[in-house]
């Protein structure tokens, strides 16, 4: 009798406040597993965002900072510069990273900060009740886009991975999702590879995870998975955009 799957030591025992079926929870687990499996949990310092993952500092079983909205990469920079021997990661939503925190993520990448970022793209501001994000799809409704996002009014959604991949210091950029066990496995692989880029001192790494927000999308958790696959993946193609050459 062997245990095929059990809870990772990388998570605390605190129950999360996430809504039922929210894939934030899946990603938390993958990050925690990666920390554990790569042997860096005990030297990890995580930075939680402002967003639904604001309480991530209670969930990851390592030292944590709660950052101001959007500023996690700057906070992580401060930490990493003081503690280059530690493993430093940020966990951020699309409002946090792709909107208010644009300058901070771009410049963490630009400087090649040796930190790793997990970027939860759920095409919405979850925490604050479903406002439009820069990643909200055209036509998708949000409380601040009640008639659906209108391209003529505020453009097409921004593709962060594609944008960051143009920056030299960003050494690992990949977009994944977690809508099925197979995708979950791939996502984990990407997260681990991304983390290794930091561990090996190569530079900045980011994994964008297409994620669901059943609550604010107004869908059941399983409907939300399907909506993501049908609508988000076509616009946000999955795949690796960049990895250090040696790893390729």
């Amino acid at each position: 009798m062997t245990i095929v799957f059990q809870k990772t030591r990388g998570l605390t025992d605190v129950e999360t406040h996430y809504c039922p079926g929210c894939t934030h929870g899946i990603v938390h687990r993958l990050v925690a597993e990666a920390l554990e499996e790569l042997g860096v949990l005990d030297m990890a310092i995580g930075v939680a965002p402002v967003g639904c993952a604001v309480l991530a500092y209670k969930y990851f079983n390592c030292d944590m900072h709660e950052a101001a909205h959007g500023r996690a990469p700057a906070v992580a920079t401060g930490i990493k510069r003081v503690r280059p021997e530690n493993f430093v990661f940020t966990y951020q939503g699309d409002g946090d990273l792709a909107s208010i925190g644009t300058a901070e993520i771009v410049h963490a990448a630009h400087r090649g900060e040796k930190i790793s970022t997990i970027f939860i793209n759920n095409a919405i501001y979850g925490m604050t009740g479903g406002q439009m994000a820069p990643t909200t799809l055209v036509g998708q409704k949000a409380t601040t886009a009640p008639y659906g996002r209108d391209e003529a009014h505020c453009g097409k959604p921004i593709r962060i991975s594609e944008m960051l991949a143009t920056i030299d210091g960003a050494k690992f950029v990949e977009r994944v999702t977690v809508t099925s066990p197979a995708h979950v496995r791939k996502a984990k692989k990407a997260i681990k590879e991304c983390f290794k880029v930091q561990i090996e001192g190569k530079g900045f790494g980011i994994v964008e995870v297409l994620s669901t927000c059943p609550t604010n999308w107004g869908l059941t958790p399983t409907e939300a998975l399907k909506w993501l696959e049908d609508n988000m993946i076509p616009y946000y193609p999955l795949g690796n955009f960049k990895r250090p050459e040696e790893v390729e």
């Binding site: 990772t8 039922p20 066990p181």
Partner: protein
């Protein structure tokens, strides 16, 4: 009926109290043995997931991989 090849068998355990009844495991199980137990409401107010026919479990861990709340432990027997 075709000859059954030596089948992997598994056991899944649910930490029912923290299940949020989201159903992601239900959808993920390739052998369709998980359901939400509508007869129960756990402390959090949800119908927790449960396995109907454990014998069919193939320990694939798909359910666990999809569970956002780390409710599930999977063993291979």
């Amino acid at each position: 009926m075709a000859q059954a090849k030596p089948k992997i068998r598994g056991r899944v355990t649910f930490n029912e109290d923290i299940c949020k009844g989201c159903g992601l495991c239900v959808q993920a199980c390739p052998v369709n043995i998980i359901t939400l137990d509508n007869s129960k409401i756990n402390a959090k107010g949800y119908h927790p997931a449960t396995v109907t026919d454990m014998d069919k479990c193939i320990a694939c861990a798909s359910c666990a991989l999809m569970c956002p709340d780390v409710v599930i432990t999977v063993e291979r027997l």
